[in-house]
Symmetry: C2
Subunit: 320 residues, 2 copies
């Protein structure tokens, strides 16, 4: 670490604002948190590893901090929960600049503030090489109201929020070597994804969703997770999948990227046919893309009227 | 990873038993946990990094798994809390054997079972080199009864549990190169430290401790943490510090190791003079080693009657 551990932690501690549910944050053996009455706790953990989830030459430090926390907040949104606190374990190489670390925290704490999540603890260590982070987000949800992956029933409609494929399109550009850097503003869903916490809260309050997951591994993979946990199958329509428009010409991304590309952090949910699902929730468009079937497997109706079997393609980040 | 991610997670999931407070464990975007009524949540996170906290040639895989979880459980004990669930983020290199990983989980899950903590989630990834783990332990404590670092008052006695220095003595042997391996049974406090969860629970129930911390960084450093958070000083007596007896001749470790050596995972606590503190709690001896003073700084009365200023010496694990 650029600073000794104690100075490092003090520097972070000074920047953190206390939170409503945080009885005790950084500075003891554990953080102490109070859950709202009648709520259950939600816990999620996510690695962000240099070389696998980001590269220093492609990703500004504040984007790395933002994306690190966004992964956790998106998991809380996927259960329709409320974020309370985050815990960051951070291992950095000795030569890393204090400026990089400060900017990393700036990105992380800015997003935390927007969602009223308090950085309440973590761990720091020196890594032999590369930046390794593990983010834990603790949230809460009124008891019994979390939306699980396992609630989809045959006949339910399938919906996605926002547009898909922008994050994968950005990575494709970078991996191809055609561009050395991308403008983070032009590909903001890759560099600064917005977890759909507010949208998910409204889905919970209106009791719309029967099952939900966030699209971190790609639509095909995450729909397969819902089908597996719910013991059902699905049919989706290729033409209905909302493809992100990227670059200076706002061209729609290829279907492959929208179908298999990960890290968009949109939500995929199912709802019974009888539920009225608004066209927009919390300012984000909602698109119906298919239906849950009793018969297992995922099939896709293509533009030319044929039916294809769709296999989940694991999203392997930068490791492709 | 030796197995694809999905198979890897399924293999872990099959070995985990459901827990009383775990509504939903591995298999969704978040785990869902129910806290006992009137309890607050405790959260702690700890890195365990190959080369810094362990070496594969010195530490059997089940010891690495055990120590990884012991670090988190010990933090819960330090707040006088009850463990509920653990979350493991694990990054392993591609060539690591499935046998090593299975043995790692055996050590971790054995300790989890003993303390009724359920492995309820986590993350897995491939690391470029070396094993990186981050353990999160979630616990609970009746609201307002957690024992903080900040509760020590001038006049309080200072106590430690068990004996100190065995873990550092083991590392000293290994680092010196005099021995290539140690018998884990002969140095069990290093290879299989027992977090003092039950002892801490009794301290809470009897309302004995005014402040508490676990000795993970070494007595001198951890006492300094208590003094800092409580805005007090301390005086300890060198002859009173309970030194571990190690090796075949059961020789007491050097005072330096007992004073500055970390990773014993004993507890350091303070108690008002009026409190009766038993000589043993939960089968573990309790030793009075000094007193909290109004005057800042830590001083030590030596065996020959002199007073020395004691500086906290950061415990740097294997990186020394």
């Amino acid at each position: 670490m650029p600073l000794p551990e104690k100075a490092f932690i003090e520097r972070i501690r000074r920047r953190v604002r206390p939170g409503q549910h945080v009885v005790r944050g950084i500075g003891d053996d554990c953080a102490i948190l109070r859950l709202p009455r009648g709520h259950e706790a939600l816990v999620t953990t996510d690695f962000t590893l240099e070389g696998i989830h980001f590269r220093q030459e492609w990703h500004p430090a504040d984007s790395v901090g933002h994306r690190c926390l966004a992964r956790g907040l998106s998991d809380i949104a996927a259960m329709a929960g409320e974020p309370i606190a985050a815990f960051l374990s951070l291992a950095v190489p000795r030569h890393l600049s204090q400026r990089w670390i400060d900017s990393f925290f700036e990105g992380l704490l800015r997003l935390a503030k927007r969602h009223r999540a308090t950085l309440a603890g973590g761990d720091v260590a020196e890594s032999p090489s590369g930046v390794f982070t593990d983010i834990v987000v603790l949230g809460s949800v009124p008891a019994g109201t979390a939306v699980l992956r396992s609630g989809a029933r045959p006949g339910d409609w399938i919906y996605v929020t926002g547009q898909l494929g922008e994050s994968a399109a950005a990575l494709e550009q970078l991996l191809s070597g055609r561009k050395k850097k991308l403008n983070p503003i032009a590909y903001s869903r890759h560099f600064y994804p917005q977890p759909r916490v507010e949208l998910a809260r409204l889905l919970r309050q209106k009791k719309i969703a029967s099952a939900m997951i966030d699209i971190s591994d790609g639509l095909s993979t995450d729909l397969a997770h819902i089908c597996e946990e719910s013991h059902v199958g699905a049919e989706i329509e290729a033409a209905a999948i909302p493809r992100a428009r990227v670059g200076s010409d706002r061209r729609a991304v290829d279907l492959e990227l929208a179908l298999h590309g990960g890290e968009d952090y949109e939500l995929l949910f199912t709802a019974p046919v009888a539920k009225r699902v608004p066209a927009r929730i919390a300012g984000v468009p909602i698109t119906r893309i298919g239906r849950i079937l009793r018969r297992r497997g995922i099939r896709m109706l293509t533009a030319n009227g044929t039916v294809e079997k769709t296999s989940p393609r694991g999203w392997e980040h930068l490791a492709r």
